[in-house]
């Protein structure tokens, strides 16, 4: 056993030594070579023994725990290997490289004695594991001594198989291989030679530039034979030899001809010279046998066509089964046809080339089934581009006795699959509208494929009928809708020709839907997982087409129609021409039977019953597909309970990988886009994900779903949608240390710290979402509020306020209640966000909501409610601070802004009364003062959240008139920059959801619903942004487009941490940028969670990891709200107030006018919030008002709050001029921290 252990060790070491090859693998084929080499060194050692259970390859070591143990075990016997073992464990390439050299030498030292004891000696090299070098050398030697029988034997039995481990060989072997190719007679040797020549050729494509391609060869290159041979030298020689072989028409040579042609197709397609050579050979071969094929099939040839076609099946049979019989000539011909067609399939498609098309079409009648398959595949691809020409070429073949009909019975599944695609491509082509006859022929073949014995073919036919393969957006919807219509309405009528050899049963015309349903139902009873998975997928596609049909509002979708009604209609038609008397009798007799009452709905119901039972399948991927199918088949009006419980129980299964969970989440997105009506249903489902598997889902994607659903829910559904989102909040977030209590809480499954943390983040996200979007959902805006401010003052009694609030707007009242609860009951992080959310709502809402929140915040700040409400916090060990919530610092500035607003309102009312009483006109100074207060408050408010400056009236509705007066007098446009309605219009039409999304269209047509337009526009801004750089959005789009083949994530550790890592960096970047501009103003609280708000940035960066979607784009929140510091940032905002496009509703999305500006600023959290608008505000005015630049001529000392200190030579951006003053902005804040303000025109030198 010691020896065995030693051998194991040896294997391990040797593999390791290969693993250590110094250069990074870039060449894919070489990657294979490398990995194969390292895992398979045992094979190379001459005596293949059971390979010890060790994994040293970097690929597998991570996933298999045993190898480490195994090597550890062997290290007990052989202490010298310890080093290697440790290195493996660390799996640090660098470390490994360091120890590489001594490992190899150790291995070499160790190998000899051990191997020598065991192995029978037959060959010099085999005393130890044969290196690539040795193999290469023996090829050279053996090629030179080919005349000896033993050489050939050695090549076939030892050298070549071992070389196969390397998967690829270096160019230095080519001369020997070519020599073997020319001189050797042995077929087995030659086969390997072709194999390796093909490898050499294909290498070129993968590592262009040639050179020394593989680390293995470098690492082991003590080779002398191969020096100086490069790929550039050998490839032309190989190609020449192979092409001459491929053109060799000797009969005995034709098997080699096939292989030569095959090897040639491996050469990279960039080589146009070689390509044209290949085309030449292939076309030459096909041309030689063209007499066998009726091309071009002109109408005069029709008879000969038929004759030829009828002739073919016999030949084909021989091709399939026969090794005996048949004349030699036709068999050789068929072989060469096969070779030519296979090669043609690997050559680039040449659409528009009639020769190419004809050669491909030739293949349909070939005897060789594989050749037929390739031919059909090529034709199907061509038909996707140019259906008309292909249809014309194949016209005759599709006729009832044509060659295409024969393919229905061809024993090659993929050939029939290709036939389905081809028929679909042609039968749906609009280019063939004038030739309904041709379309009907191909359509009939497609329908017949529904009866195919192979599931693969049948499903392909179903998918084709459903219109799955039209991926163009709008067109795709149409196709899908009509696909559903076809499936539910059309009848399969078998042509008489084929019905002869079918059973009688099939004779009766069958509604497609019935056939399909029966087929699917039986598939779901299969035990094969691929079949189950595929069937579920087909059901999903059915659901998609059905959803499209409903979305398009196709008439006649009524699913309660009896399916037989259609076939009856058809029967009637047939009665008239009395061509099918037997069929009618049969039909009518069956019609009276039990199947009579089947409706589409009932068929679907019974199918879905079977589908549901499939969730019992033990394969999680099958279940995943079933869940997706169920989501797609769920109709908006059916009960959701079953689906919900299925999903809930599914998600409880820990076997679900995160990627699959997210796939289902993305399916919800896709479903929503197909049927916006389902927003609420989908949100409910999404909620299950949030609560069941918070650790597995992608919070970004979930957020995006929330947002899109909320917007898509429409005015009526908004309330419910918001409820569905925020119901997440009703789940008490897990508190540190109290994990055990979690399991008892309603449906929350955060069983490990990781998912607990994820859930908490989710709750934070939901709270923020609520704050940001509650006003939208409730359609409650201060600037549209009907309640005069005075009323609010009369409702200071809290109870009355709550009552009034909830009677006025239950949605908002509900949201407020939730947020208030969160402000008390959440974890520390949640509470902060809740407070910020409340402030946002307070600012955006009219009375009595604002007052209600004001009162609440006041109470909170004073800590008066602590005794009643926040007992639970005593347990979590935090310093509760003065108020018991630890939020005092945060609340103060928020209260202040509200205080100031109320104060301003009071004063205004007083002033108005004074004026009214005295019957005085408002003087200009008074108006100016009022206006300044208005603007100041606007700026202040803007620090907390986004508000539409043009409409927002911090002094209450009553101030509107006066401010208007002042504005008119002084020619101040509140909405400079964005009054142009086209901004909005363009925005809407540029919607990311474009055609698939009916909702924006609807809002366009109604045109008047400001609110919705507002939402869409804002939303659109976000999406534009997200579309540019947010991973969630691209993930969703990828998914919906059906793309995505990139490799899956394997490391589960990363699933959770992955997104935030990247964002952390971006977060840090933002932080820095903000610092640049506003040095010390980054610290205090603000409305959006991505502001630091006296929270450590590490915590905030959690928020940064999510794209908080907002229907509003928030104002920069990175400014200070503390009294002392408000000055500086105020100016910054003031400037915005003047010059940035002040949004009329809807606010124009920044990202549309300035998509590039975002690029330097890719923090995805900026979506609709925080500093995002900061930069765009910088950019925007430059565009819209034509910003000028200048330098300060002299020092200037500010004489008032709105003025700006200047130092001579300072560079300035001039925003606008007013009354002899420039409003300027500095590149960096001055010593006083101010960025922008007014300076005298004369002090500035304009550049």
């Amino acid at each position: 056993s010691k020896i065995v252990a030693g051998r194991k060790l040896v294997g391990s070491i040797v593999r390791t030594s290969h693993d250590l090859s110094p250069s990074p693998v870039t060449d894919p084929s070489l990657a294979m070579a490398e990995s194969s080499g390292k895992t398979l060194m045992d094979l190379i050692s001459a005596d293949p023994t059971p390979v010890p259970a060790q994994s040293t390859s970097s690929s597998s070591s991570s996933s298999t725990p045993s190898p480490a143990a195994a090597s550890a075990a062997s290290s007990m016997h052989q202490p010298m290997s310890t080093k290697t073992t440790l290195g493996e464990k660390k799996s640090k390439r660098a470390t490994l490289m360091q120890i590489q050299s001594d490992t190899i030498s150790v291995a070499k030292a160790a190998l000899n004695p051990v191997k020598a004891n065991i192995m029978p000696q037959r060959q010099r090299q085999r005393k130890k594991p044969v290196s690539y070098t040795q193999l290469a050398r023996s090829i050279h030697e053996l090629a030179a001594t080919l005349d000896q029988k033993s050489s050939q034997k050695q090549l076939v039995n030892h050298v070549f198989p071992k070389l196969a481990v390397y998967n690829s060989v270096d160019p230095s072997l080519a001369p020997s291989l070519l020599m073997l190719n020319q001189q050797c007679e042995d077929r087995n040797v030659l086969r390997y030679v072709y194999y390796y020549l093909a490898r050499i050729l294909s290498d070129t494509g993968l590592s262009p530039g040639g050179g020394i391609p593989t680390p293995n060869w470098d690492a082991l290159a003590d080779i002398d034979a191969g020096g100086g041979v490069t790929r550039a030298d050998v490839v032309p020689r190989i190609v020449n030899q192979l092409t001459s072989e491929a053109s060799n028409s000797e009969v005995e040579f034709h098997a080699r001809r096939l292989q030569a042609l095959k090897a040639l197709t491996y050469s990279p397609s960039e080589n146009s010279e070689l390509l044209s050579k290949l085309y030449e050979i292939v076309f030459g071969l096909l041309d030689k046998f063209k007499d066998y094929f009726p091309v071009p099939c002109r109408s005069t040839d029709y008879i000969s066509c038929r004759f030829q076609v009828a002739d073919v099946p016999h030949k084909r049979k021989k091709g399939v089964f026969g090794t005996k019989g048949g004349d030699k000539e036709s068999i050789i011909r068929s072989n060469l046809q096969y070779a030519a067609m296979s090669a043609l399939r690997r050559l680039p498609l040449d659409p528009g080339n009639p020769v190419f098309l004809h050669r491909a079409a030739q293949g349909v009648s070939f005897a060789d089934p594989v050749a037929v398959r390739h031919s059909l595949e090529i034709l199907a691809e061509l038909a996707a581009r140019d259906p008309y020409t292909v249809a014309m070429t194949l016209e005759k073949l599709a006729s009832p006795a044509g060659a295409l009909q024969d393919i229905l019975h061809l024993h090659d599944v993929l050939a029939r699959v290709a036939l389905a695609r081809l028929c679909h491509g042609i039968s749906r082509a609009r280019a063939l509208d004038e030739r309904p006859d041709i379309r009907a022929q191909f359509n009939s073949i497609l329908y017949q494929l529904l009866l195919d014995p192979s599931e693969r073919v049948c499903y392909e036919a179903i998918l084709c009928i459903l219109g799955k393969y039209d991926n163009t957006e709008r067109h795709g919807m149409d196709e899908r809708a009509s696909g559903w219509y076809r499936l539910t309405r059309e009848i399969l009528k078998l042509p008489e020709a084929t019905s002869k050899d079918k059973s009688n049963k099939a004779k009766r015309p069958q509604p497609l839907i019935k056939l399909v349903m029966r087929r699917l139902e039986s598939s779901f009873r299969s035990f094969s997982r691929p079949v189950l998975h595929a069937a579920a997928r087909v059901v999903q596609e059915m659901g998609k087409s059905r959803a499209a049909a409903f979305a398009m509002g196709l008439e006649d979708i009524d699913e309660s129609v009896h399916v037989n009604a259609f076939s009856d209609a058809l029967d009637d038609a047939e009665t008239n021409d009395s061509s099918h008397p037997e069929g009618i009798r049969r039909t009518s007799s069956i019609s009276a039977g039990p199947g009579r009452n089947e409706t589409i709905a009932s068929l679907l119901a019974s199918l879905m019953e079977v589908v549901r039972t499939t969730v019992a399948c033990e394969c999680v991927y099958v279940r995943g597909m079933v869940v997706k199918a169920l989501i797609w088949m769920q109709s908006p009006h059916e009960s959701l309970d079953e689906l919900k419980s299925i999903i809930a129980s599914e998600l409880s299964d820990p076997a679900w990988p995160a990627s699959l969970v997210n796939d289902v989440l993305l399916t919800l997105h896709a479903r929503f886009k197909a049927t916006p009506d389902m927003a609420v249903i989908l949100l409910e489902i999404a909620r299950i994900f949030a609560t069941k598997v918070p650790g597995k889902i992608d919070a970004d994607v979930l957020q995006l779903l929330w947002k899109t659903c909320l917007v898509g829910a429409g005015p009526d559904g908004k309330h419910t949608a918001l409820e569905a989102v925020t119901i997440v909040l009703d789940l008490p977030p897990p508190q540190p240390g109290s994990m055990s209590g979690l399991t008892s809480i309603d449906r929350v499954s955060a069983s490990d710290p990781k998912s607990a943390l994820a859930l908490q983040k989710l709750v934070q996200a939901a709270v923020w979402f609520l704050g940001e979007n509650a006003n939208y959902a409730a359609s409650e805006y201060a600037w549209e509020s009907a309640t005069p401010p005075g009323t609010a003052l009369m409702m200071l009694d809290a109870d009355k306020m709550v009552a009034a609030a909830s009677s006025r707007n239950p949605t908002l009242a509900g949201a407020l209640t939730r947020l208030q609860r969160c402000a008390f009951s959440g974890s520390w992080e949640v509470r902060i966000v809740a407070i910020q959310a409340l402030t946002t709502i307070a600012i955006r809402s009219g009375e009595p909501f604002r007052l209600q929140i004001y009162e609440f915040l006041n109470t909170l700040a004073e800590g008066g409610v602590q005794s009643q409400l926040s007992e639970m916090h005593l347990s979590n060990g935090e310093d509760q601070g003065v108020s018991g919530t630890g939020l005092g610092v945060l609340i103060t500035p928020m209260l202040k802004v509200l205080d100031e607003m109320y104060q301003g309102q009071d004063e205004l009312i007083k002033e108005i009364r004074n004026h009214d009483n005295a019957n005085k006109e408002w003087k200009d100074e008074e108006l100016k003062k009022l206006y300044e207060t208005h603007e100041r408050l606007l700026d202040f408010v803007s620090l907390f959240c986004y508000i539409p400056r043009a409409k927002y009236l911090p002094l209450g509705p009553i101030s509107a008139k006066l401010i208007d007066t002042y504005r008119t007098k002084h020619n101040i446009t509140a909405s400079s920059g964005s009054t142009d309605p086209t901004v909005v219009a363009t925005g809407i039409s540029d919607l990311i959801y474009e055609s698939t999304q009916p909702a924006p269209a609807a809002s366009n047509s109604s045109g008047l619903d400001d609110d919705l337009v507002n939402a869409w526009a804002a939303n659109l801004g976000d999406d534009g942004l997200l579309g540019n750089n947010a991973p969630a959005m691209s993930r969703v789009n990828d998914f919906i487009a059906g793309g995505g083949t990139d490799a899956p994530d394997v490391d589960e550790e990363n699933v959770f941490s992955r997104p935030s890592v990247g964002y952390d960096d971006m977060w840090a970047k933002t932080l820095l940028e903000t610092n640049d501009q506003e040095e010390d103003d980054v610290r205090s609280g603000s409305s959006s969670p991505d502001s630091t708000g006296s929270v450590e940035s590490s915590i905030s960066s959690h928020f940064g990891g999510m794209n908080y979607p907002s229907l509003f784009s928030s104002k920069p929140s990175s400014s200070s709200q503390t009294t002392g510091k408000s000055g500086g940032s105020k100016y910054q905002s003031t400037y915005e107030g003047y010059s940035s496009p002040i949004r009329e509703e809807p606010p124009p999305p920044y990202s549309y006018s300035e998509p590039q500006s975002r690029e330097s600023f890719e923090n995805p959290m900026a979506a609709g919030s925080g500093s995002r608008s900061y930069e765009s505000d910088d950019e925007e005015p430059r565009k819209s008002t034509g910003t000028r630049f200048g330098t300060a001529l002299y020092d200037f000392t500010a004489g008032g709050d709105d003025e700006l200190n200047l130092t001579a030579e300072e560079e300035l951006e001039i925003e606008y001029e007013v009354d002899g003053w420039f409003y300027v902005k500095k590149k960096r804040p001055g010593r006083d921290g101010k960025m922008a303000g007014l300076v005298p025109v004369l002090y500035v030198n304009q550049s």
Binding site: S59, R187, T323, A1047, P1048
Partner: protein, 147 residues
Amino acid sequence: MILAVLFANSVGNVLIERFNGVPAEERLTWRSFLVKLGAENLKGVKNEELLVACHKSVYIVYTMLGDVSIFLVGKDEYDELALAEAIFIITGAVKDICGKPPTERVFLDKYGRICLCLDEIVWNGLLENTDKDRIKRLIRLKPPSEF
């Protein structure tokens, strides 16, 4: 397109792999994904029982044959069922060469021929020959149909 064909032994060492149209940087991920998938699901699975997985629009069908696990990754026309078809042919060919579901040793013994077979079955990412006899003839450099 058949994106990948991968053979691994029972502990997850890659024995053979062929990638088509998979960027080099994704191969390692695919490799470890597949091996992990096998490690998690192939325990106690019967010979040639087909398992299925999917990732985005890519399908994976895999199975166990003797000591060797075989994975196929495909997309587009190579969906679960087409891959099942392909894997059936591959397992058939391997069994033919090895005479039975192979132990790892036997598999490595026949390594060269298995590679040749694979070369005839999957050609540039497309399924080529499906007929056993035909494959047998082709790896001995005989024409696909003989006279």
